[in-house]
Symmetry: C2
Subunit: 364 residues, 2 copies
């Protein structure tokens, strides 16, 4: 079952139809489900040779570039499912707590489906691009003086007591959609990788990938499952440190979560896959972020770079000739400030608009 | 020849391989060309029902969402070609003038190909996300006190006199790559649309699309070609107004160009396709930008919205039951400031992190 073997008719021709239509038989979808889609999924799996060389041992490293989903993050995979099911159930409004990516995705899909979207965000800790998205998609944005964990606690209570559907990853359809990323990786490689390296915040995505790898194994699309390597940001690493972090801090705002909803599930994934969890510092994250940009031409948000930072950190543990996929969860354009503050580029400003001035500056 | 019928082997399996491998037989590529790719192309063609209803007359409108290319704009289509050919010719450095999208793309592909990238940008007129990209990809950025047209004049002279390859759209490989967007549209729809609506800045893209539509017609992949409708921003509309604009001004910075390099070619496209060129105001552009965000869940940069603004403006000219494709050239995340300044969202800040405060704010 490869991407190219799963076409869907689109106006008489063939076309990537979005992940629900592409992976319909693996998803809890009926003929009555209205499919709200922006043709999410089918994101690139790109070889990153500079990282492979850094690890050595004839290891082959790929990145799954999920920042090329329609709203710029992996959240779209789960949101097409959650919003389609909400629409099926005649829901009129959805709500979520978010560090920014979920709110952007929820707003886009809800509005496309003709629903209202309420989003709770932690004031001052949402990257600029993500806030811009929630606003442009026309969400009703509530910025609270508290962190993500507090916001999640509140939206759960709101959806328990009012006719507003919760679309955080406690909504089971979210992980159903997200598991398709594992399908795509196997469809591209023809087999499961040996390791999956993935950033861990609320721990929904690592849980979803594990579900996907196991379903494809059962369906004989692969002959093995990967070791699941989860990476948290130092200062925001409750699972690694085995304790709730009251005031999580990290440059990687997308995984700035001190009390992950899917904590128990993540521990189960670790155990079942013989995987491991580690923490990476902001410095290690930014180092990986720069390598991806400067050597590979790939721009991700800081949280995404945690997967590469983690792989570099544990490279001694990687056996010869392993195939490794690192998940880049979000687009770098989500957080332009981080790029402007953290780069090694040479930037000349205020130059005279003349050939002489330019030649001189270029050192020609 | 549909997207799904043009697979390429990728590690033993099937996978979208980037546009050069997908459309190899239509491109000036040899076995000796090293292919520098980020798996660009294969971008969504999304039906936009709210726009279709706005036009009426059973018209069907789609957007070609080229902002989902690897660096967030259509420029990647041309850049994979230009940089691969530069690499084939053992070039060590590339240069371009840019309003931001070309420089982001040139930097990403050049660095991926192991080359240096010099980019000239007009100081103060490059959207924040685009500047962030050039920096993160490690370009050498030269910001000049002059506009795009002046920057282009300078880089042409630099490349004429020094061993630095010019990768602006005067580089013929750029348009070769860009024409593949027309292929993809026909591959998805099974036929050419009746109209293509497209923003016009330097007029390279409209030229490339026209080339693509004609090559596919000749190859019997379609039975007709579309009318090419080009839209310039008022204040920056030299072709529409038949005169060079010395100091072009518009919110749509990506098409803020007063003296397009491909002016003559664009006029030929208009004539050959029985198309038309119009100007749209910044207000019309922002109106279209908001409709796309709020009704369709699609976030584009302001210049891209010119295609939708234009279609709305000329809707009386559109015959019944036409199929129309509007090109969205760049991702909205490229210009977060524009979104933050131009939206109709409700944004509550500084809220107490309590259920009561949130319920009250939501009006429940």
């Amino acid at each position: 079952m490869t991407v190219n073997q799963k076409p869907d008719t689109f106006n008489g021709s063939k076309h990537w139809p979005g992940l629900i239509k592409a992976y319909r038989s693996f998803l809890p979808i009926s003929d009555k489900t209205p499919i709200i889609t922006l043709q999410e999924g089918s994101t690139p799996l790109i070889p990153v040779d500079s990282i492979s060389r850094l690890i050595g041992k004839k290891v082959k490293v790929y990145i799954k570039y999920d920042g090329l989903n329609p709203t710029g993050s992996f959240k779209d995979r789960g949101m097409t499912m959650a919003i389609s099911k909400a629409k099926e159930q005649s829901c009129k409004a959805v709500i979520c707590a978010s560090t920014g990516n979920t709110s952007a995705s929820a707003a886009a899909y809800a509005k496309r489906g003709g629903m209202k979207a309420f989003v709770l965000i932690p004031e001052g800790y949402v990257a600029q691009g993500k806030l811009a998205q929630a606003l442009v998609y026309g969400a009703e944005v509530l910025s609270i003086k508290g962190n993500f964990d507090k916001a999640l606690e509140i939206v759960q209570k709101v959806s328990d007591n009012f006719p507003v559907t919760l679309v955080n990853s406690v909504n089971p359809y979210r992980l159903q959609g997200q598991k398709t990323a594992a399908f795509e990786i196997i469809d591209s490689l023809g087999e499961s990788p040996d390791f999956l390296c993935i950033p861990v915040g609320n721990a929904g995505n690592i849980t979803a990938y594990w579900m996907g790898f196991n379903e494809y194994l059962k369906a004989s699309k692969s002959t093995k499952v990967p070791k699941m390597m989860g990476f948290q940001a130092k200062g925001s690493a409750p699972i690694v440190n085995k304790k709730i972090i009251k005031d999580p801090q990290t440059i990687a705002t997308a995984i700035r979560i001190g009390n992950p909803v899917n904590w128990e599930k993540a521990l189960k994934v670790k155990e079942e896959s013989n995987g491991e969890f580690f923490e990476v510092s902001d410095e290690e994250i930014i180092n990986a972020y720069k390598i991806l940009g400067q050597k590979e031409g790939i721009f991700c948000e800081p949280a995404s770079a945690a997967s590469i930072a983690g792989l570099i950190k544990i490279k001694e543990r990687i056996p010869e000739e392993s195939n490794i996929v690192c998940v880049l969860t979000g687009n770098g354009l989500k957080d332009p400030d981080c790029a402007i503050k953290n780069n090694d580029a040479i930037f000349h400003t205020n130059l005279d608009p003349s050939l002489d001035s330019v030649i001189k500056t270029m050192g020609l």
